[in-house]
């Protein structure tokens, strides 16, 4: 970070731990925040709303978990080995996303592209694993139309999968932007949002892993 930029970031009245004079003291009198804070904050709010969507799908899954309509139960269809592999892919992908953040901070084009490529490939591997799980269930006739339980399961897990797919599209666009435009402040702000999105998908996955798969194998 250059000196001028670091001064700007430092004078941001909303940064964590700020207790400077003439600046915000928890009453919000410090004037407009910096663009980076505004963009990050707005995207946090958007992620919160996305979490509400997932909350509804979790609730629907919980309500429908017993509605198996003579179809398979949760423990009949969950394969924890594949789920462990999926989890490993996703967490490793987030690790590389973190590396990309460091590479962006160092303005290193090659490392940025490499770390983002690794992020994307691991995300894609996750999607392939999920697709194999879904197609296996379809092949057995246990698709989402089979029962209320399977409807809830496919929608919740599938919604996460759709988010990962959208994330991959965004990731590709992001890589192209870094390549074509370099490390412009607006592109870096956009990348801040992307990395938040990618980690957010991990958090949702942890919830799916625990509440759907781990609990489900005991049902």
């Amino acid at each position: 970070m250059s000196t001028a930029e670091s001064t700007i970031a430092f004078s941001d009245p909303y940064r964590l731990g700020n207790r400077g004079p003439n600046l915000a003291r928890g009453h919000g009198g410090g004037g407009p925040a910096s663009k980076r804070v505004i963009v990050g904050y707005g995207f946090w709010l958007f992620l919160l709303s996305d979490i509400v969507i997932f909350a509804c799908l979790f609730a629907a899954y919980a309500v429908l978990a017993d509605a198996i309509a003579d179809g398979p139960r949760a423990r009949d269809i969950y394969d924890l080995k594949r789920v462990a592999l999926e989890t490993a892919c996703l967490l490793a992908s987030s690790f590389f996303c973190g590396l990309a953040t460091i590479a962006v901070a160092r303005r290193n084009q090659f490392l940025t592209q490499a770390a983002l490529a690794a992020t994307g490939l691991l995300g894609f591997a996750f999607l392939l694993l999920e697709a194999s799980e879904f197609s296996g269930l379809y092949a057995l006739g246990d698709g989402p139309t089979r029962s209320g339980f399977l409807t809830g399961f496919f929608t919740l897990v599938g919604c996460h999968g759709v988010h990962v797919t959208a994330g991959l599209l965004w990731l590709g666009t992001m890589m192209a932007q870094f390549f074509a435009k370099g490390f412009r402040p607006d592109i870096r702000r956009r990348f801040l949002c992307f990395s938040m999105f990618w980690h957010f998908l991990d958090i949702v996955w942890v919830a799916i892993f625990s509440l759907v798969y781990l609990v489900g194998t005991r049902l």
């Binding site: 909303y14 009453h27 919000g28 009198g29 410090g30 004037g31 407009p32 925040a33 804070v37 505004i38 904050y41 707005g42 709010l45 958007f46 919160l48 709303s49 996305d50 509400v52 969507i53 509804c56 799908l57 609730a59 629907a60 309500v63 429908l64 509605a67 198996i68 309509a69 989402p144 139309t145 089979r146 029962s147 209320g148 339980f149 409807t151 809830g152 496919f154 929608t155 599209l169 666009t173 932007q177 074509a180 435009k181 607006d186 956009r190």
Partner: protein, 665 residues
Amino acid sequence: MLGKLGWDAIPFDQPIPLVAGAVVMLVLLGVAAWVVIKGWAPYLWKEWITSVDHKHIGVMYILLGLVMLLRGFTDAIMMRSQQVLAFHAQGYLPPEHYDQIFSAHGTLMILFGAMPLVIGLMNFVIPLQLGVRDVAFPTLNSVSFWLTATGALLINISLVVGEFSRVGWLPYPPLSELRYSPSVGVDYYLWAVQISGIGTLLTGVNFVTTILKIRAPGMTYLRMPMFCWTALASCMLIIAAFPVLTATLAMLTLDRYLGFHFFTNEAGGNPMMFVNLIWCWAHPEVYILILPAFGIFSEVVPTFSSKPLFGYRSMVAATLFICVVAFCVWLHHFFTMGAGADVNAVFGIASSIIAVGTGVKMYNWLFTMYGGRIRFATPMLWSLGFMTTFITGGLTGVLLAVPPADFLLHNSMFLVAHFHHVIVGGVIFGVFAGITYWWPKAFGFRLHEGWGKAGFWCALAGFYVTFVPLYITGVLGMTRRLQHYDVAEWRPWIMVAALGVVILIVGAACQVMQIVVSVKHRNELRDTTGDPWDGRSLEWATPSPPPVFNFAVLPQVQGAEAYWDVKQRAREALRLGQEPHYEAIEMPRNSATGFVCAFFATIIGFALIWYIWWLAIVGLVGAYATFVIFAWRDVPEYEIPPDEVARIDRANRGVRQQALLGASA
């Protein structure tokens, strides 16, 4: 190739929607032709359609809301007149058409009438009141507006191509499932509401960020005008509630399109889950509407009483209290579902308690007026009309919140009268107060007082004459949504209600006349000072209409009533504060992103409604390409040079200085 779409989609056998659709199309084409002939098209494209200025977006929202309000009002007139004719008879609207009308009426009035009006006022006013130049995400703001417009467009397309939903403004399954509603009506509803809902969600994100992160220096949380607080609470509710709508409609969509079993009767689906989920959005939704209206009254009452708002902090607390409790009362919409006495009791008590917050506000407005020098201008009349109307409307709500009473009144005309009582008397009166109040700020001239007052008195009288009889029919056992009936006791009250509608029509005509007359006589009604009502918050510090950057220099806020304090100091000293040092201002460049996105969203929605899959894919690719093109631009802002800023601000200061001297002379 065209999915389910064919010539049979156009209802040639039904004259009413066809004629209505033809009239709408002719009007639209006429307006478009007029604009092109007059050579206004480039102006319209540059200054409005692609504008990212919050003031212009706000005005467009309000225009959309007013048009949809009239459209929904037409539906209301048809329903009331149908019930006049359909005593021991079939009336003039067959059941399948009548059902579409009441479904469209509710959907339009709440989601495309009231919501755009409220959001439009927030758009126009909030950055001005916060003393800043724009919202957090200006282009996103334009996307939000155009997505809302897309939803409204899809609903109006359903007039002539296919049909609209027949299952009410909330599509309860299993009736709304494919098996019982196989036509495209429910699909029109789903995609129109889904697309506009995304727009509303983005508005919520935008305004919470704006209010919490972008305020003039010195404007602490407890110095924000009350309207900003209520808008903040309302937008927080949007962020928490609209995703529930998105998820719920997505589930119903999956049921209908892919044969899922969320809400079906068979294979383990659970219809009551839909009712729970949808009201988990729809109850907060009414607070999303009413809270900004409360904010408007909290601006209007102090201004026209020439006193600061009484009990500002208690007002903030009451607003946030309502914001939280709004999420704890949804079950009162279906006490009869059978959740059990204990659950019903909890939600019944919560529903009664939420009235306490509103009570606090009522007393605060009353005490604000007490001892004040009240001016009975049109915005103040709407506020007073609201206070009397909303109290009684709220009390009938408390009555409905008592589960045993609700078992008798559930889904009766009593309920219909209740929610019209609070939404018309609360939200709509509030919006009209707001429009009359901020009109001079937006356009530089005041609205005609005579026509405005006539409109107000007709609306107030018409409201009571229409809805008090409906309360009575409800108690007499009349259920809602009846296409015909044969109970003689209801008949006289239905006739009185129809008379009320006539008065409301006169009121609506007065309001339209008010705008026409005011535009015609705008030079006599000109607001040269920028402060026509002797206002107290920062929007009145700007000229009318404000320049694109709002404030030449961000104001330094030093007290609770940011502008009033400055004005009082100037009045005592008989001169303005020192001229500031002007610097260049960076403003966001206009962008067609919102409009183009909405174009593709319309294509996606229409294609999905008619199962034209390839077209939906084309739309998705187009929308993605639009985003990429937006993301690829290199110059997101333009600069206004300091000389230009100084010129505009000096003109404003000159006018104010003259007004000061004029007042003292």
